[in-house]
């Protein structure tokens, strides 16, 4: 998940999620970046509205399960 956290960190920091930025962040975290994974991630995120995705993801799916204790 390093790559995902790196991408989300960039997004939260208001930075573009591109190959170079990902590389820098990963390296700062002591990860030797895998070029293929970086490229694949950037490609997969192309056209994805991250704000929207995050908003949807943050919403707990359905309501929290009602539990009779």
């Amino acid at each position: 998940m390093e790559y995902v956290y790196a991408a989300l960190l960039l997004h939260a920091a208001g930075k573009e999620i591109n190959e170079e930025n990902l590389r820098k962040v990963l390296e700062a975290a002591g990860v030797t970046p895998d070029e293929a994974r970086i490229k694949a991630l950037v490609a997969a995120l192309e056209g994805v509205n991250i704000d929207e995705v995050i908003q949807k993801a943050a919403m707990p799916v359905a309501a929290p399960v009602a539990v009779a204790a």
Partner: protein
């Protein structure tokens, strides 16, 4: 049989003929069934069954004779179940269905002191037509939550006054009759049924339909599971098979953190939820506006 009265001989002959001409022979107890419900029952079964009320001894002789003449020794065993005011019911109806039909055709009857109830007797909550009087005290003595409201006796809530198998007392009979509750059942009690070399007793015949429904559902689930788990497609399962394959693929991609348009939401969601869960443990001043929302 030399001393046997002529009418008895004729009666046995007629009973034997009836027994021999139907595949399903049932013994029913008609004791305690008044003439009117019995005739209603006859109407209900017209064309489907013949009901012959007779003396128990004559029925026994007829059953044994029919068994001998038909060469069906098992049929003779039916005579062992004669009791009460037995009658012969001859039909084509499957014994299990017959039992169900007889049970369904039982009608409610008023309480009688000394009678045994087959079901719990429940007094429903709500207003009653009874005017205040000594009956209220009797009700309360039996634990019935009776009270007087607006000049009428009212039952506070549903109350089981007698459990199945219990005996109706004189006092309870009075109360139930006043309330118009009919706790007894009148109808033909099946004693035993013969068909195809087998004598069935009520214990065997009282099948629980919900058990069969459960088995049907279980069998269907087995078939469904087999089809989906082995990816053998059928009309009913092809969608589930596709979904299983898709969900499996998606699971793997999400677990691996392999982002695709199908998995981005789940993967980011996990990361985000982890962040939010951790943020819960953080002091307030660490949280920025986004997290505080």
């Amino acid at each position: 049989m030399a001393h046997v009265a002529e009418w008895k001989r004729k009666e046995v002959e007629e009973l034997t003929r009836v027994i021999k001409s139907y595949p399903v022979i049932a013994l029913v107890d008609v004791a305690g069934v008044p003439a009117y419900p019995l005739s209603k029952m006859r109407d209900k079964f017209r064309g489907k069954a013949i009901i012959r009320v007779s003396r128990n001894t004559l029925i026994e002789i007829a059953i044994k004779r029919a068994a001998q003449e038909l060469g069906k020794p098992e049929l003779a065993k039916l005579a062992d179940y004669i009791q009460g005011g037995a009658a012969i019911l001859a039909t084509d109806i499957n014994p299990f269905k017959l039992y169900k039909l007889l049970e369904e055709s039982k009608t409610p009857a008023p309480a009688k002191p000394g009678a045994v109830v087959t079901k719990d007797v429940v007094i429903p909550g709500g207003p009653t037509p009874i005017a205040p009087g000594p009956l209220v005290g009797e009700m309360q003595a039996l634990g019935i939550p009776a009270r007087i409201e607006k000049g009428k006796v009212t039952i506070q809530n549903d109350y089981t006054v007698l459990k199945a198998g219990g005996v109706i007392t004189e006092q309870l009979a009075r109360i139930l009759n006043a309330l118009g509750i009919e706790p007894l059942e009148v109808g033909l009690n099946l004693l035993a049924v013969y068909e195809d070399g087998i004598v069935y007793t009520p214990g065997v015949l009282a099948i629980d339909p919900s058990e069969y429904i459960n088995m049907l559902q279980q069998a269907y689930v087995h078939a469904f599971n087999l089809s989906v788990n082995t990816a053998y497609p059928t009309k009913q399962t092809i969608e589930a098979i596709i979904q299983k394959a898709f969900l499996g693929a998606k699971n793997v991609a999400v677990e691996a953190g392999y982002v695709t348009k199908e998995t981005v939401e789940d993967i980011f969601g996990r990361a985000l939820r982890a962040v939010l869960l951790i943020a819960q443990n953080l002091p307030g001043e660490l949280l920025d506006e986004k997290t505080k929302e």
